[in-house]
Amino acid sequence: MSEQEFRSLYDATARPILAYLVGVTGRKDVGEDLLQETYCRFLVRQPPSMNVDETRRYLFRIATNLLRDRWRRRDDESWQEIPEHGFSLDIDAQIDVRAAMGALKPRERELLWLAYVEGMGHAEIAAATGLRTISVRMLLFRARRRAAGLLLPKRETV
């Protein structure tokens, strides 16, 4: 891959991957480090030619594996360090985003992000995470239920 080809690929894919990494870890510095590592691994491995969607999924797969490596080392399991000024309660739903994200497990954040922010289907999530489609469906169901459950007490007290 030439530098020019890489630049156009990077411009097209880096932002959503960085958002995913920051969204799942809750840390911008970690997200940026992992983003660079994701593309380094991609370039060093030189995967066979893929179309844009396959490349995108492949990059998400590398990013997800890097996140898992961090959690396996227990570097940072908690969701943290998002600037305080960026957080506020949603007036309609009374959602404290920080609390809800912090209460979710890393894998739950991963799956929910891919499904609802990236808009990936179950098969795409499976390709991006290395899980089986049936497992994605089940894990996503649990994550969704948990996330929704975190909001219920607040709603009831409103």
């Binding site: 530098e3 890489f6 630049r7 990077y10 411009d11 880096a14 932002r15 960085l18 958002a19 920051v22 969204g23 911008k28 997200g31 940026e32 983003l35 660079q36 593309y39 380094c40 991609f42 370039l43 060093v44 998002i82 960026g86 957080f87 949603d90 739903a93 959602i95 985003v97 809800a100 994200m101 929910l112 992000w113 499904a115 609802y116 922010v117 808009g119 289907g121 179950h122 469906r137 089940m138 996503l140 169901f141 994550a143 969704r144 239920r145 996330a147 929704a148 975190l150 909001l151």
Partner: protein, 158 residues
């Protein structure tokens, strides 16, 4: 039995992104537990995504490219020096085996007749040849190990 997914889930999440929730879809959300949970969970994720504005934070493509190239060179050098590392290990193993064989022969000679056995061993052609080979291998192995340690196992750090 609880359903774990609904075919309208994608539409519900899309409605959150666009802000367009039709009356029919609203009715569906009210009657479908899966979609109601998906809506709540997606709200958390989308709100987080909107708070984590990362447009300006993407590292420069050139920086990532340079880092990947450096990593690639390092990886190529590692691959190129791998045979040398294997040779070093084999040399060390060979030295140990030769030393074991020499000790075994020596011990055999001693057990038969201490002094005459020693003379027979050292004066014999086989013993002399083995000693020279052992010496040559030991010098070679020592040089390889010394050279490897001096240059950091032949792999320059970046």
């Amino acid at each position: 039995m609880n359903r774990i997914w609904c075919e309208r889930e994608t539409d519900v999440v899309r409605s959150l992104r666009t802000g367009l929730l039709s009356a029919e879809l609203r009715d569906h959300v009210l009657s479908c537990v899966v979609c109601a949970e998906a809506r709540s969970a997606a709200q958390v994720m989308l709100q987080t995504a909107s708070l984590l504005r990362t447009e300006d934070g993407v590292p420069a493509a050139g920086l990532v490219w340079s880092r990947a190239q450096a990593r690639k060179r390092e990886s190529d050098q590692k691959r190129a020096t791998r045979p040398l590392i294997v040779m070093r290990v084999l040399s060390a193993v060979y030295v140990v085996l030769c030393a074991g064989w020499a000790l075994h022969s020596f011990w055999g000679s001693v057990s038969m007749e201490l002094l005459s056995g020693l003379n027979a061993f050292w004066s014999g052609t086989v013993g002399l040849g083995a000693a020279i080979a052992l010496l040559a291998i030991a010098i070679g192995a020592w040089y390889l190990l010394y050279d490897g340690r001096r240059s950091g196992a032949g792999i320059p750090s970046t």
